[in-house]
């Protein structure tokens, strides 16, 4: 793992078992810098567990996980991993309902996270501009002063993506961003995520094949905790193994 440029994420032979059931079984894959990657797979394929391993929520029994080739993710806790530059969006949108849209983004803003510092922290003009820029990007500028609890489901998803952007991460993990969205919202989300990729790496876990097609990226298919197939949307859709897993039963 020393030859440059290091991939942003490198998983090798990661295995996680819960009471004997292997949620991840020798999973290996690599995400390059600036890449937008989609991960699909049937229920129980290990998509969420994979995110748990990357963000430090779950420790693997075996295997290695490196961020930018130097940070061993299997040894760090959630806070440190978040501060290294890995942002995570949960499957269920998780925003702070009793805070305004602006405050939600302010809390996510990359800044000193220590308690005594935040007690006296104010917002510099540049930081305020950054919050406003992200609100523009996620299309919520008009709702800045509204409580996040009043937003629609789709808007909450966008707000959470916006919160990830505020952290200025190098890698974003996005779990089922379009679940429960209208067609129009789904389209907007695809545009949003494609706009984010490039400067940052984005890993999207998704079920919705229409959306996966709209993203038009390299797709990794997980099955029973390991990689079943990898390639373009057309490639994996025509892969005999994938067809069998999805349709063969």
């Amino acid at each position: 793992m020393t030859k440059p440029p290091n991939p942003v994420l490198y998983l090798d032979d990661v295995t996680v078992s819960f009471d004997g059931f292997k949620a991840l079984n020798g999973l290996s894959f690599v995400v390059e810098r600036g890449e937008l990657r989609t991960i699909i797979g049937p229920n129980g394929a290990g998509k969420t567990t994979m995110m748990d391993v990357i963000t430090g929520k779950t420790r693997p029994d075996k295997g290695t996980a490196f961020f930018k080739g130097v940070h061993d993710l299997t040894k760090l806790d959630e806070e440190s991993i978040a501060n290294l530059g890995i942002g995570r969006k949960f499957q269920r949108p998780t925003v702070f309902d009793n805070h305004t849209v602006f405050e939600n983004l302010e809390l996510a803003l990359k800044a000193d996270r220590r308690a005594f510092v935040t007690l006296f922290a104010g917002l510099a003009p540049a930081q305020k501009e950054r919050i406003e820029a992200v609100m523009e990007q996620i299309g919520l500028s008009a709702r800045a002063r509204d409580l996040a609890g009043l937003l629609s489901h789709g808007q909450r998803q966008w707000l959470e993506i916006g919160m990830l952007l505020m952290q200025d991460p190098e890698l974003l993990l996005v779990d089922e961003p379009v679940a429960g969205m209208t067609d129009h919202e789904t389209e907007q989300t695809a545009i949003l995520l494609k706009g984010i990729a490039g400067q940052r790496s984005v890993v999207v876990v998704e079920h919705d094949m229409e959306f996966v097609r709209a993203l038009a990226t390299k797709v990794t298919v997980l099955h029973e905790g390991s990689v079943l197939s990898e390639g373009t949307v057309d490639h994996v859709q025509n892969d005999a193994k994938v067809i069998e897993v999805y349709l063969g039963r």
Binding site: Q91, R92, F96, N98, H99, F120
Partner: protein, 396 residues
């Protein structure tokens, strides 16, 4: 839609409402400050005369209001339901009690200039090391905040680091205060056993049984209440305060944003314990006694009920709740003492089910409390700081 217009209208109404609340608060503070004058300046025969016990009683409520603020800070804003805050209150009280005991000097029953009466009675020959320094008022004041603060810090560090939340945390706080109560009941602990400490003579040279000292302690309590209120307001309105409420509403999201939830909870819990200690220290010279019953779990639970009744997540609500419930208690225990506990329990159930935002919610004031509207079991789990179980992701 006239969205922006509505919003600015609403904002205007809100600033106006805020002004009213502020004006009302200032009037209440002024009235409270003037109260002892009715005792000091009005002759005892007059119908306006306020008896001594009333000054003492309201002075006690002021201390309870400070305790309520401490509980609201951790429960209302961070979602930590502590059922053991009475322990911090009592520890602050004991620290003050130890100073007052030493201040008795040789005027005790046994005329021992160094040892308090109960130690002479137990045939102790010298002062235990943990009593050293308590003859100094400033040292005692430092202990009033440091002892509860240290206990909260160590206890909180162990609990929050292990991610103990919700009911489990409430139960161990309860166990903590119960264990301390049992310990303080023991004579060989050196804190006066079940009799505690009493028969205090004076504080800083001022005799405790005069009207002027009583009024002085009352004013000190009122001043501390105002200062504590301002301190808590500063904390909850800072970015730190927004992180704290975020922890209350979605703890794991805060963690994934890169904040150390443990440190934030520890900050709030320790600060809250220190405030509770100050409340206890002001309480003891006014009631003239401190004993292990202050550690009883029931006392801590009662304090939580004040906050629930007033409205958690609102600082004004916490203070209001302390006054209303204790006012009702003073009034009812003189008419129907045997029913008081039932009434208290009834109030708690009713508030939980029908007024999740407390009395302050009735005033329509926009508190920062969690928004729950329907009388459901969800209110109860919100009160307890437990999140209803999330639908588990399917795994074969």
């Amino acid at each position: 839609m006239s969205g922006p217009l509505n919003r600015s209208l609403a904002a205007g109404m809100e600033t106006k409402a805020r002004l009213y609340v502020r004006a009302a608060l200032l009037i209440v503070i002024a009235l409270l400050a003037a109260l002892p004058l009715l005792n000091l300046l009005v002759p005892p025969g007059s119908s306006l005369y306020l008896p001594d016990f009333a000054v003492k009683l309201v002075g006690k409520w002021l201390c309870f209001a400070i305790l309520a603020l401490a509980i609201d800070l951790v429960w209302g804003y961070v979602g930590i339901l502590s059922l053991g805050h009475g322990a911090f209150f009592a520890l602050g009280g004991y620290a003050m009690g130890m100073y007052l005991m030493r201040a008795i000097g040789d005027r005790g029953v046994y005329k021992n200039p160094i040892l308090p009466d109960f130690m002479v009675f137990l045939n102790w020959k010298e002062l235990p090391w943990y009593w050293w320094g308590f003859d100094n008022f400033l040292f005692a004041l430092a202990m009033v905040v440091l002892v509860p603060g240290l206990l909260a810090f160590v206890f909180g560090w162990l609990a929050f680091r292990s991610r103990i939340t919700g009911v489990y945390l409430s139960i161990i706080t309860q166990a903590m205060t119960f264990a301390l109560m049992l310990a303080f009941f023991r004579n060989d602990m050196g804190f006066g056993g079940n009799n505690g400490m009493t028969d205090f003579k004076d504080i800083l040279g001022f005799p405790l049984n005069t009207d002027a000292t009583r009024a002085g302690l009352y004013w000190a309590s009122l001043l501390m209440l105002v200062l504590t209120f301002l301190l808590c307001r500063m904390v909850v309105r800072s970015k730190l305060g927004r992180v704290l409420t975020a922890v209350r509403d979605a703890e794991s999201r805060v963690r994934f944003l890169g904040y150390s939830v443990t440190n934030y909870k520890l900050f709030a819990f320790t600060l809250s314990a220190m405030i509770a200690g100050v409340a206890g220290a002001l309480y003891v010279p006014q009631v003239g006694i401190i004993n292990p019953s202050e550690f009883s779990p029931a006392a801590s639970i009662e304090a939580v009920i004040w906050v629930a009744v007033g409205g958690r997540g609102s600082l004004v609500g916490a203070v209001l709740g302390a006054f209303v419930v204790n006012g009702a208690k003073s009034w009812l225990t003189s008419y129907a003492p045997e029913y008081w506990l039932f009434i208290l329990g009834g109030i708690f159930v009713a508030v939980t089910l029908f007024l999740p935002r407390g009395l302050i919610g009735l005033l329509g004031k926009k508190g920062n409390g969690p928004r729950v509207t329907k009388p459901t079991m969800a209110n109860l789990s919100a009160m307890l700081g437990t999140v209803p179980p999330e639908p588990k992701e399917q795994r074969p």
